[in-house]
Symmetry: C2
Subunit: 340 residues, 2 copies
Amino acid sequence: MAAGALMAAEMAEQPARLAALAAAWEDTAGRVARIRPSPLAGTVIVARGSSDHAGAYGRYLIELVSRRPVALAAPSLLTLYDARTDHTGYLAVAISQSGRTPEIAATLERMCESGAAGVAITNDADSPLAADAALALPLGAGDEQAVPATKTVTATMAMLALVAAGLGRPPFGADDLRRLADAVAAVRDDPDPADAAADRLAECGRLVTVARGLMLSAALEAALKLKETTRIVAEGLSAADLRHGPIAVIEPGFPVVAMHAAGPARADVVELVAELRDRGAEVLEIADTPDAALPLPTGIPEGLAPILAVVRAQQLALALARRRGLDPDAPAGLTKVTAT
Amino acid sequence: MAAGALMAAEMAEQPARLAALAAAWEDTAGRVARIRPSPLAGTVIVARGSSDHAGAYGRYLIELVSRRPVALAAPSLLTLYDARTDHTGYLAVAISQSGRTPEIAATLERMCESGAAGVAITNDADSPLAADAALALPLGAGDEQAVPATKTVTATMAMLALVAAGLGRPPFGADDLRRLADAVAAVRDDPDPADAAADRLAECGRLVTVARGLMLSAALEAALKLKETTRIVAEGLSAADLRHGPIAVIEPGFPVVAMHAAGPARADVVELVAELRDRGAEVLEIADTPDAALPLPTGIPEGLAPILAVVRAQQLALALARRRGLDPDAPAGLTKVTAT
């Protein structure tokens, strides 16, 4: 089998899964609304790895619509420190592709025992995680065999959009999610920009990805996908955090992948891109602008654009891994279910 | 003036400031207890850069003692997306060394307007941030002139321990904080291990720092300090997150700084260190164990050990910057107050 054949096949399934989730919009939102605590004290999201980056997307979206603070959980508080956190009034959203990462299942269980209404987003409806939750939301993405998660990541992000729809009014609707599925298909069928970018990045050993706001989740996920598949030391940072110190590492020729879409967070990232180019950085943009090295279809609301940007980043990771002679389907030292 | 003279002088002041904060334990805890919302819905912490890493320490400690969830805020939700988050019942802790980062002051102001009880931790009692808060907790660390924050970071962490003491019972007391001040002096007066480690890392271009639980804050801060001062691309990760993908980048000879202290999180980090050494990584430990390359004095409770580990990491950053011919006092392209 060719290097990355599994990953490529799983990436190709994404438009169909996103379209199916768009069709589940009303039903899912209704089920979430029925278990939403009232009054709502806040939401906690618990996940690791790629699921945690999808969680970062949910973190912004759920706070925006629920109008109560959202926290990304620190699982070790419950699993190592035996913290007696009281989750009364909280919605707890746990995300695990396999539903079998012991730490995530144990954390959701403790949160539910201490008063949380638990939602499990997982690709395995029969997993321990799904069993712990008041509401299990299976992704239905089919078996994912490549080690780098792709179709389950975008399905999780779309599922979080549906969860948000059950908690308030997201800045987009089911129709937009359907259009997103088409836009993802358009990116899938246009691999040339990723191949060209892979040529430019073929020799690089380190890289920074940067974005802001909702799109930050895509930058975090892009960095992880590049680390897993290409062994490039890639760190994902918010534009604001990059300015607070890390910008010191950006020397002439330093590669940066900057991600943005039409919306309130764009101006800050575009300004940073200009600043980075002034420092001599080699900036590749993933954006819905005509001059972006890795262009995105236009017309997708900023609230869904991170899903589209993740797909472009997956394509870059795949192309770059192949360009570097690596097989992204089975990176050295990684397994599909992580036992922490 | 010698390279890093300012940074070294400010680092040397840390024991005295920590001892002064130990003396303020009861008074500060009492003032926090008086503004604590009751019932408490949760806590949000808002900060950027080094202050955000101190915030990561507060995030664990405050959830542990307050027994309600703690969130690290996403400032862009309020400053860019105009999110109408209701903070009724929340304690909001904003941290800014200068008190003049516009984004942090604006975010705390919005949180207070929407119901939060606001605490400002800042080194400038007359700053806009201090003016916004119901309770201002000035660090009293004196003017900090070197661009990399050092004495204000450890003072902020200690101040967060005092805030925790106002919200519940931290797993240490004022006496332990006094002993920490002595231990920090012992680290300050023992620069040889950092010089030796700097020799080992002199040529490296990338590095990972790793820890877990409370100590994660120190790993995040160590990575930032190394980026700011040495231009090494250093990423801080939790042991659990490193296993979820990023471990793929760890090739033979890859440098890793692992941090741990006696307590519930140690076993997981020690296990990971063995795994990383099996992969051929060059692991340097910052730990209270006899064989650590960068040893810490023993007998400091795990809840305060991150402060001690940060001081060792500062010493490493300073030594390594000098070894690489850089002046850490004024890294290229950084200013003391970041205007985001």
